[in-house]
Amino acid sequence: MDKAVIETIRLNLYYGDFLALEEVNIRIHRHRITAIIGPSGCGKSTLLRCFNRMNDLVESTKVEGQILIEGEDILSDKMDLISLRKKVGMVFQRPNVFNLSIYDNLRFGLRIHRMMSEKKKIDEAVQNALEHVGLWDELKDRLKKNARTLSLEQQQRLCIARVIILKPDIVLLDEPCSTLDPVSTLKIEELLRILKRDYTIVIVTHNMQQAARVSDETAFMHLGKLIEFAGTAEIFSNPKEKLTENYISGRFG
């Protein structure tokens, strides 16, 4: 059980000259929800984006150290980004569905990875993914409708479905509820608890209650450093570091 799915070893990340992550060592475990919290600009999203190498898109980024996913160094030049991103899916802050039908949104990933060609298999996968995120019953009769006509919560669920239809191992979520109302937020959290049976989940959030409610382990970051990383209950009831305590008690951030 102690085997980490994601492990970083002395991870440094620079944007140009700016040191955005400093000496980050973290071990994220299988089938758990790990929350990363911290004040704005602390590097939590940056760390999350390291795990599927989305930081590569920023031209002046430089990364040092190691990131192992299931033992494989994903920073190596030989790493195939396409299969990495298939294995490590990502859900963004805004529900960014494609301007396509619900069905085509889900089919997009299958198509680019040439995963299935038979219509029956694709239909099955679509149904599976939608059932998984609790959308099938509401949407089964209108799969051809444009995904942008859905409510924000439904769109965010669809984004999660679009990731899990590719059968990833890890799902990264970058403040997935920040544009949702409280009720929708709770529903998404409920969904995450169900999903953790099949996936390893890492969620970045600026909402401490959310971290407390949904996660098994919590990492607190500040100014690019990982300050404390422990079981969620422990972090919130008995933090070891002064900074952590100040943050969770609302004294800054």
């Binding site: 898109l57 396409i82 991103r85 680019i112």
Partner: protein, 282 residues
């Protein structure tokens, strides 16, 4: 009235005056051409070849020539321009060399058209031995149109939000799949606008076709892309300055047809763009 209000009134007056100064001459020119020319435009003028040393008859071969040249220009410049812009925006690293290329592209659109004409004459007509032909003329006009198409496409691609690319890449799409599915469809309105603008300019230009394709008097349709052709702009230049005793209404009617053609192209692009814009969602 307070001093600030007075200044405001004065500013509005100056701004309005500047706008009028731009708009009024254009409207007057168009109105003058339409007014003087429309009387001579009729079915036979549009569908017959010129006769009697261009003093009589119609301008059909020139209309066809101009349309062929527009199509030929588009065939060469649109794919090349869009591909080059995709490379510059999506693939090229941001370094000195890339910036130099981008700057050159912008500057090329300011090069006088006669320079393109002479360049096309030297390269296509003489060196590549295409002769004075539709092919040479289209290529010359295409080179002239490229900077505008590249710049417009570049701006259209850059205006697609980064998040569109992010989602696609995060799902494991390759760069090309991302461009093809998540960037290009949303840049079509911008590309279209730039293309039509530069093609309408190409339709009206005389200098680039002067030595590369234009025939002074060729009262028949071209046989192949290696044939010469008449073109509206050059025909207008010829009858207005080179042939004595042409009834002025023929010149004006020719000008009217040229303006109408360009206007129709722009109208078409506005309609197409409005359709595509409904898809634009940011």
């Amino acid at each position: 009235m307070s001093a600030a209000q007075k200044r405001q009134t004065a500013a509005f007056f100056i701004l309005g005056f500047a706008t009028m100064l731009v708009v009024i001459p254009i409207i007057l020119t168009m109105a003058y051409v339409v007014f003087k020319g429309i009387g001579a435009v009729n079915w036979s003028f549009l569908t017959e070849a010129p006769r009697n040393g261009m003093k009589e008859g119609g301008i059909f071969p020139a209309i066809v020539g101009t349309i062929i040249l527009i199509i030929g220009t588009m065939i060469f410049s649109l794919p090349l321009g869009v591909l080059a812009a995709i490379y510059l925006v999506e693939y090229a690293k941001d370094n000195f060399f890339t910036r130099l290329i981008k700057l050159s592209v912008v500057n090329l659109s300011g090069v006088p058209s006669i320079v393109y004409g002479l360049f096309g004459f030297g390269l296509f007509v003489l060196f590549l031995r295409l002769g004075t032909s539709i092919l040479a003329g289209s290529l010359t006009l295409a080179i002239m149109s490229l900077p505008v198409i590249i710049t417009a496409t570049k701006e259209a691609l850059e205006s697609v939000p980064a998040s569109f690319r992010e989602i696609s890449l995060s799902l494991g799409a390759t760069k090309w799949q991302t461009i093809r599915n998540c960037v290009l469809p949303y840049s079509i309105p911008g590309i279209l606008t730039g293309t039509v603008l530069s093609l309408s300019r190409a339709a009206g230009e005389t200098a680039p076709i002067l030595f590369t394709v234009a025939a002074f008097y060729l009262p028949r349709l071209p046989h192949s892309v290696f044939d010469q052709a008449m073109a509206l702009s050059y025909h207008l230049y010829a009858i207005a300055t080179q042939v004595p005793n042409i009834p002025p209404k023929i010149s004006f009617a020719t000008a009217f047809v040229l303006i109408a053609l360009v206007f129709l192209m722009n109208l078409g692009s506005i309609i197409l763009r409005a359709r595509f814009r409904k898809k634009k969602l940011w």
